[in-house]
């Protein structure tokens, strides 16, 4: 069948075939609908495991006290008991296994304490219930930890 009318059709068919062939080789086998809905569950199944394998950085205080019991009791009885070790000491990553301090950068700065203890004057909020200071007046040039023990911040116990 030699027709100038049909010729573009063969070109179109060849193009579609090429796209389908490329798709066959390029799209992974596990790509498809995994779940109820084509709209929400159309994906590459292997990616779920890739996200599950993402490395954990914050290990939790329970892991820290396995080795570092020196401040455990004091901290547990203090007003700061709810604060995770890694909030100030930095994420543990593989430190419990390797012993390498790596990512654990101890934060001794005023800015860390001021996150909670800067007085914003919001009466009636839980922020106002926290003992707070005016950061531009209260011992501006000193680090908080020079006077306050972060593991037991009770003012009664201050030396």
């Amino acid at each position: 069948m030699k027709s100038h009318v049909l010729r573009p059709l063969w070109v179109a068919i060849a193009f579609v075939a090429l796209v389908l062939l490329a798709r066959y080789f390029l799209v992974p086998d596990d790509f498809g609908v995994h779940g109820e809905s084509f709209t929400y569950n159309f994906y590459r199944a292997g990616n779920v495991q890739e996200w599950k394998d993402f490395p954990v950085k914050f290990r939790g205080s329970a892991v820290c006290v396995d080795c570092h019991s020196e401040n455990e009791e004091m901290l547990a009885a203090s007003l700061h008991a709810a604060i995770q070790c890694e909030n100030c000491h930095g994420p543990g990553l593989d430190h419990p296994e390797s012993g390498d301090p790596g990512t654990m950068i101890l934060n001794r700065g005023r800015a860390l304490c001021l996150r909670c203890h800067a007085d914003l004057g919001y009466a009636g909020t839980s922020r106002a219930a926290i003992p707070s200071i005016d950061p531009v007046r209260h011992n501006v040039d000193s680090a908080c930890i020079e006077c306050h023990e972060p593991h037991n911040p009770d003012l009664e116990d201050m030396e």
């Binding site: 996200w51 914050f58 914003l120 909020t125």
Partner: protein
């Protein structure tokens, strides 16, 4: 070709049955049955934020950025905390400097004039994160199938499949998505999927010293957090978009957008 009335009728009936079969095959499975066929059908992750407990320390934001390898000094973040201050003149002042990565240590809002405490009617902090919607509009608009909802309800981004077109970033009514400056793909909160699937809590939940953030399994009605969502008066954000969010808020103010 001849066709007697008898053959025509026979073929017509056969054709009608054949045509109806696939439809019947689709209807055999009810939505509930289909759901039970999905992996992890006993888990549906949800989140509870107690806004009254949040003091705006931003430890959650800091922990999130470190845990999920979000460039620390880039103005993007998976979760953030907003500050709202309502003054006597009826105006609402809201800000979230660097997503509250360093907390709120200043009375100045948006770097402007500090608001005098006597002028304040109410002030509060609202943590925000991905709502892991039942009907995520961000997933609907993805042209390549690079973002999707898992069987346990978490919306993930396939970094190797995303083409970085940014449709999802615009489609999210909560403004949760952003462009990852390093991987050059869409990025979003996934409740720390690598942690919750190991039985750990998300980094933000663990970092919060005030118990303002909670993760739960919405399908486990004995889960204490799920019980709060079921029994207490909780609110969701932007109900009018119909996305069916799964982050619930205790004490949400009408000023929060």
């Amino acid at each position: 070709m001849t066709c007697s009335r008898r053959t025509f009728l026979k073929n017509a009936v056969k054709g009608a049955i054949a045509g109806a079969l696939p439809v019947a095959a689709f209807r055999l499975l009810s939505p509930a049955q289909a759901r039970s066929a999905v992996e992890d059908a006993s888990v549906r992750w949800g989140f509870l934020v107690d806004t009254a407990k949040c003091v705006g320390c931003g430890m959650c934001v800091k922990a999130c950025k470190l845990e999920n390898e979000i460039p620390y000094d880039a103005p993007v973040t998976r979760t953030w905390v907003e500050r709202y201050v309502v003054t006597r003149d009826g105006r609402t002042h809201a800000d979230s400097p660097m997503g509250a990565r360093d907390g709120f240590t200043d009375r100045k809002i948006h770097g402007g004039e500090a608001i005098d405490p006597s002028e304040i009617v109410k002030a509060f902090f609202v943590p925000k994160l991905c709502n892991q919607c039942d009907k995520p509009s961000c997933v609907q608009v993805c042209p390549v199938g690079a973002t999707y909802a898992t069987g346990d309800g978490i919306v993930l981004v396939d970094r190797s499949w995303c083409i970085g077109c940014g449709h999802c970033i615009m489609a999210c009514p909560y403004g949760v998505r952003f462009f990852h400056p390093v991987h050059k793909v869409a990025e979003k909160c996934n409740f720390c999927y690598h942690r919750i699937t190991k039985g750990m809590k998300p980094a933000c939940v663990e970092a919060c010293p005030f118990g303002a953030r909670h993760i739960c399994n919405l399908k486990d009605h004995d889960d204490p957090v799920t019980r709060i969502i079921l029994n207490e008066r909780v609110a969701i954000l932007k109900d009018e978009y119909g996305t069916k969010p799964n982050v619930f808020y205790l004490g949400l103010d009408h000023n929060v957008r």
